[in-house]
Amino acid sequence: MTLRAQVPPRAPPPRQHRAWSWRSPATRALLWQALALAGLLAGLLWLVHNTQVNMAARGIQSGWDFLGQTAGFDIGEQLIAFDAGDSLARAFLVGLLNTLRVALLGILLCTLLGTLVGLGRLSHNLLLRALCRAYVELFRNVPLLVQLLVWYLLLVEYLPDASAAWNWREALFLSKAGLAFPTLVAGTNDTNGWGDWSAWHWQLPALQDFGIEGGGALSPEFIAVTVGLGCYTAAFVAEVVRAGIRSVPHGQIEAAQSVGLSRRQTLRLVTGPLALRVILPPLTNQYLNLTKNSSLAVAIGYPDLVSIANTTLNQTGRAVECIGVIMLVYLALSLLTAALMAVFNRRVALKER
């Protein structure tokens, strides 16, 4: 015999079908949102319309046809072939690639350096801890533009002229003109497009009338921007890494130690994966910041997207369009970075099983 009373399971309440009514808070909320959206759209349309009317009234030409015009200017460094006879659209592409080159290398640099400094701040070694702390405070608190100018001036002021470049075994040359290094080039008896493999050889940089020719080269502008952005962002990454590791409950580490994991194993198998979940979202922010901050490169003469857009703006007078291109490109880059990081984040996130 059971003492438990037989209580029939309560049927779920019938889904209330609420009639459409002005009184319903849900309806009103929806209405307000629709109104706000309509207001925003109307505001935007008004801005666009007003711009067009004003520009037309002042005889300022607009439109995207200018992208097909020949550029007429040269670009100091380029990843794809470009000369003054190419179109402005291609000039923008060259600028975009230059921006991406700085952003990718900068992200790599800031991640490596930031992780090391962040770990250093948790070290048991007092000197190392103090040095890492000093690094973070210094690089985090000096404005980025100033840092870029300092790096650039250090490079062009104190390195020797190209004619007296420091060189390492006649292969690496470091001077005011930047860093020149040997590159692997295909043989000249090129038959199948890939060249004769046996004829592949190293092309060494060599001193010419005006600087160093041959081989590959990194300009001082590029070095200054990449190193400057990398070092600056590394200070923030270090703090993100430190916070991430500190967020792992101490019990987890004690547990790891009590099952006999070494310090290294603990970091790799327990602290690391747990910390990564905390680190990734703010790390994405730092990557986005680095990419957007690369637009400061224009101050030290690096031909990034902003620099090319500035030049184009002045050659053609299409201010609204050029600023539009800059905004769209940075928006796209940021969304792309965020999306990639979100995918990565999902893979390391805590899985509920």
Binding site: M55, R58, G76, L153, V156, I300, G301, L313, N314, G317
Partner: protein
């Protein structure tokens, strides 16, 4: 930084009330001040001294216009603008006139809502190299790295010159005049290019020893510089145009800052009488009073005086008058007649 400022200007362009051409003159009279766009510091043309007082050839033209229109050469608000900002600033109404060593070109005149008034300075683009480099001609610069400022006609001229003579010049483009100067003097580039007046000005201001830098003889472009106004403001355009021409006419007829009052009182020369509003009232046609040109000359002197005071051979910039002499002396300045 720069893009942000430009976006704000672009937004200003977007949010302006519906436009009415020809409003500028009314606005200026109402606020009793002219907003003049100048450079961020090109000594001899427009630069502020340690007390923030602006001086230079482009500045004097702004002062002359203020004296003619508002009766006081100091009723000017100086707005320093970087190269890339200047046109947007003028288009959006941040300044009324741009007196900022700006070259007249077809694209700027025809497609950007701007109008050129008169030519205040005949210039040409050149190269400066360190004297120790032994370069004597721009055609010897094969493969050289050249520092240049963005947002100027210089970038395009450099590419044209490089292509025409197959020099394969590599530009390093800076967004600020000062940054380009600093990079050149630090030795980043084997040559520096801009208008020769700019080269002379930079050399006088920033070189440790001006003699260590050589301005090469080739001029690779024509650079007629002059003030610009917004398109569609015909009365305002006419005032700026005729003030510049008036200063040239004054030099041609021997009217100076020192003798303008006395000539106005005593001269029997019909041309002088007309220029100074004694016999004819040219001001009325422009919407000014009859003493407009006399006041402008009294404030800044005639064109020759302005030139010698700011950029002439006795100044640190030290530019010979050259092409900027009057046509009567074999130069290019041929003022339109004021009658």
């Amino acid at each position: 930084m720069k893009p942000i400022r430009l976006s704000i200007l672009a937004l200003a362009l977007a949010s302006l009330g519906s436009a009415h051409a020809g409003k500028t003159l009314d606005t200026i009279k109402q606020r009793d001040q002219i907003a003049v766009g100048v450079s961020t510091g090109v000594p001899g043309f427009s630069a502020a001294d340690s007390q923030g007082r602006w001086a230079g050839l482009d500045v004097d033209i702004g002062k002359a216009v203020a004296a003619a229109l508002l009766g006081d050469a100091n009723k000017v608000k100086w707005v320093p603008l970087a190269s890339q900002q200047r046109f947007t600033a003028l288009q959006s109404g941040e300044v009324d006139v741009l007196s900022r060593n700006t070259t007249v070109t077809l694209t700027r005149d025809a497609s950007m809502g701007l109008a050129f008034t008169a030519i205040a300075f005949y210039d040409g683009q050149g190269f400066m190299v360190p004297a120790k480099s032994k370069v004597k001609s721009a055609k010897q610069l094969k493969g050289a790295t050249v520092c240049v400022q963005s947002g100027t006609t210089s970038e395009k001229n450099l590419a044209d010159f490089s292509r025409a003579y197959k020099l394969n010049l590599k530009p390093v483009v800076f967004d600020k005049f000062d940054a380009a100067n600093a990079a050149y003097f630090a030795g980043r580039c084997q040559a520096y290019t801009t208008d020769t007046s700019g080269l002379a000005s930079v050399r006088a201001k920033d070189a440790k020893d001006p003699k260590e830098h050589l301005i090469l003889p080739e001029l690779i472009s024509k650079e007629p510089l002059g003030p610009l106004v917004r398109r569609g403001d015909d009365e305002w355009l006419a005032i700026v145009r005729w003030v510049v021409n008036g200063l040239l006419e004054a030099e041609e007829n021997g009217i100076t800052q020192a003798n303008v009052d006395q000539l106005k009182a005593d001269s029997t020369d019909p041309v002088v009488g007309r220029l100074l509003g004694k016999t004819e009232d040219t001001g009325k046609l422009l919407g000014l009073d009859r003493d407009w040109l006399a006041r402008a000359i009294k404030a800044v002197g005639n064109y020759g005086e302005i030139y010698e005071r700011n950029v002439g051979e006795k100044t640190p910039v030290g530019l010979a008058r050259g092409k900027n002499r009057l046509w009567t002396d074999g130069g290019l300045h041929y003022a339109l007649p004021l009658r």
